[in-house]
C-alpha cells in the first residue's frame, strides 16, 4: 500500500485515491482541425516513462479534489505533489534527463 499526501487532507492510504494517468494533457484547442494522426495522439498516446512521471490523482474518498504528483515509476517514490494547473516542478532526475 502506498502512502500519498493529499494537499488538502494530509497523508492517506493509496486505497482512498484514484489514478488519472498522465498530467498536463490539454484538450486540443480546435479538435475539428486535427488530422487523424494528431487525434490519435491525443486520444491514445500517453508518456510511459521508466522514471519520474507527472500524473494526476483524485482523493476520491476524501476531499474529492484532483491534484498532480511527480512519482518515480520504478521506486514508486513521490517527488512532489502540486495543484492542478500549476506547471510541473523540476526534480533532480527530470533535470538530468533534460526533460
Amino acid at each position: 500500500m502506498l502512502l500519498f499526501t493529499c494537499p488538502n487532507c494530509g497523508p492517506r492510504d493509496e486505497t482512498e485515491f484514484h489514478y488519472g494517468g498522465q498530467a498536463h494533457v490539454p484538450y486540443p484547442e480546435n479538435p475539428a482541425d486535427l488530422s487523424d494522426v494528431e487525434w490519435s495522439r491525443y486520444l491514445f498516446y500517453r508518456e510511459n516513462p521508466k522514471g519520474v512521471f507527472a500524473e494526476r490523482w483524485v482523493h476520491s474518498t476524501g476531499c474529492r479534489q484532483w491534484f498532480n504528483m511527480l512519482r518515480d515509476t520504478v521506486s514508486y517514490d513521490v517527488h512532489a505533489v502540486y495543484p492542478m494547473g500549476a506547471p510541473q516542478p523540476a526534480t533532480a532526475t527530470t533535470q538530468q534527463k533534460g526533460a
Binding site: 486520444l43 491514445f44 500524473e55 515509476t73
Partner: protein
C-alpha cells in the same frame, strides 16, 4: 489423486555464446514471445543467423511470472482467429518441440454474476461458435458439477448465475515452454544472448542498421522488439512512440495441496481467477495495479481483495496460506488488444501490448511476428493488430468482451 510429479530439472539446454558483430535479424527480449519468434524465423523462414538479446536471464520477465492461462474464447473475429491459432499450436507444440511442457487442457470457466454478465457471456459463446472456437454456456448446476468446490449457492454477495466454458482451454508450465523453445532455437543455430541489454539503435536515415548493447554494438538488417513491459522504453530509444502504458500485475500462490481444483475458474465481476498448478499450489491473480509502474511489484490491497473474492467463491480455500506473491510489468493498450506489425522505423518491427494476457498468445505471436519480420509485411492474422489502427479507428475492443483479461 496425487499431485503430478514434475520432471527433474534439465541440464543446460542451450549454448551461451558471445554476441557476433552482425546478424541478419535481432530480437530484443528473451521472453516467450521473443523465443517463439526466433523459433519460427528459423523454422518457417530459414533465418538462422539471428540472435535473441535479453537484458536479464532468459524468460525472467512476465514469462516467469504469469499464471499460464491459455484460452481462445475472445469475442471479436480478429482476436478469435489469433488466439485460436495459438491454441491450435499449443496442441501440437509439445510434440514438435519434443518437450512435454505439461500443457493441460483442463478447461477454463468464466463466471457470470449479474444479468449483464449473463447476456454478454451468452453472446460471446455464440460468437465463439461462429468462429469455430469450442464454447459452452453452463447453468449454475452444471458449473457445480464441473467444479464441486465452487460455492454456487445464493448466500454470497454475487451468486454464480452461470459460466462460459471452453473445454480445450487450460494451463501449461511456463518455464518449460521457454526452455522448450530455447532448446529448439539453439539447435536451429539461433544465438541466445543473456545479460545483454539493448541501450540504443544505429540508424541510416530512417532505417535501423544495428543495436547498441551492454555487450557491444551489433549490426543487423532487421530488428524485432518483443520487450513486453519495456516496449515504450525501446520505442523511445528508436525514436517513435507506442500507445502503451506499463502497469504492475500481481499474482500469488498458496502452499502445496492435494488436487482439489479440476479446472480454471475466472471471475471478471468479483475479480479473481484461480487454478491449481501441477505441483499443487493454488495460483491466483486479478487485475493490474492502477498506476503506471516498472517496479515488478504492486500494492498489497490488490492481493487482499483477490483473496477475499477467492474465499467467497471457494470456501475451502479459507485456511490455505499465501506462500509467495510477485509482480510483472504488463504493457497495456487502450483496446486491450496487442500490437504486432510494422513501426515508423524501416526494418524495425514491434510485438507488444499483450498486456495481462499474452502467455496464451505466445505461439501465434511468434508465428505472425516472424512472418512480419521475414517478409516485411504482416501475416493475415496480425494485419488487424497494426499500430495504425489507433489512427484509422479500427480498434479491437476486447475489454469487457474477453472476460478477465488473462
Amino acid at each position: 489423486m496425487s499431485a503430478d510429479l514434475l520432471p527433474e530439472h534439465p541440464d543446460f539446454l542451450w549454448r551461451n555464446p558471445d554476441p557476433k558483430s552482425s546478424y541478419d535479424a535481432v530480437i530484443v527480449g528473451g521472453g516467450g514471445h521473443g523465443l517463439a519468434t526466433a523459433y519460427y524465423l528459423a523454422k518457417n523462414h530459414g533465418m538462422t543467423n539471428i540472435a535473441i538479446l535479453e537484458k536479464g536471464w532468459l524468460a525472467g520477465g512476465n514469462m516467469a511470472r504469469n499464471t499460464t492461462i491459455i484460452r481462445s474464447n475472445y469475442l471479436w473475429d480478429e482476436s478469435a482467429a489469433m488466439y485460436e491459432q495459438a491454441l491450435k499450436l499449443w496442441e501440437i507444440l509439445p510434440e514438435e518441440l519434443e518437450y512435454d511442457f505439461l500443457f493441460s487442457q483442463r478447461g477454463v470457466m468464466n463466471l457470470a454474476h449479474t444479468l449483464g454478465d449473463v447476456r454478454e457471456s451468452i453472446r460471446r459463446v455464440g460468437a465463439n461458435k461462429l468462429n469455430g472456437v469450442d464454447a459452452e454456456w453452463l447453468d449454475p448446476q452444471q458449473v457445480k458439477e464441473l467444479c464441486p468446490i465452487l460455492n454456487t449457492s445464493d448466500n454470497i454477495r454475487y451468486p454464480v448465475m452461470g459460466a462460459t466454458y471452453q473445454p480445450r482451454a487450460g494451463i501449461a508450465k511456463h518455464d518449460h515452454v521457454a526452455w522448450a523453445f530455447a532448446r529448439k532455437c539453439d539447435e536451429l543455430g539461433v544465438d541466445i544472448i543473456q545479460n545483454c541489454e539493448v541501450t540504443g539503435f544505429l540508424k541510416d536515415g530512417n532505417r535501423v542498421t544495428g543495436v547498441q548493447t551492454t555487450r557491444g554494438t551489433i549490426h543487423t538488417g532487421k530488428v524485432g522488439l518483443a520487450a513486453a513491459g519495456h516496449s515504450s522504453v525501446l520505442a523511445e530509444l528508436a525514436g517513435f512512440k507506442l500507445p502503451i502504458q506499463s502497469h504492475p500485475l500481481q499474482a500469488l500462490v498458496s502452499e502445496l495441496h492435494e488436487p482439489v481444483h479440476p479446472t480454471v475458474v475466472m471471475s471478471n465481476h468479483v475479480h479473481v481467477y484461480v487454478s491449481q498448478a501441477h505441483k499443487g499450489e493454488l495460483v491466483m491473480g486479478a487485475g493490474i495495479d492502477s498506476y503506471n509502474g516498472y517496479g515488478q511489484r504492486g500494492s498489497f490491497h490488490v492481493i487482499e481483495e483477490q483473496m477475499a473474492a477467492a474465499v467467497e467463491l471457494f470456501p475451502i480455500f479459507a485456511r490455505a496460506h499465501v506462500l509467495r506473491t510477485w509482480g510483472g510489468i504488463v504493457d497495456t493498450t487502450l483496446d486491450a488488444s496487442p500490437i504486432v506489425g510494422l513501426t515508423p522505423v524501416e526494418n524495425m518491427y514491434v510485438n507488444c501490448g499483450w498486456g495481462t494476457g499474452g502467455f496464451k498468445g505466445t505461439p501465434a505471436a511468434g508465428l505472425t511476428f516472424a512472418h512480419t519480420i521475414a517478409t516485411g509485411a504482416p501475416h493475415r492474422l496480425n494485419e488487424p493488430f497494426s499500430l495504425d489502427r489507433f489512427e484509422t479507428g479500427a480498434l479491437i475492443d476486447e475489454h469487457g468482451a474477453a472476460a478477465v483479461a488473462h
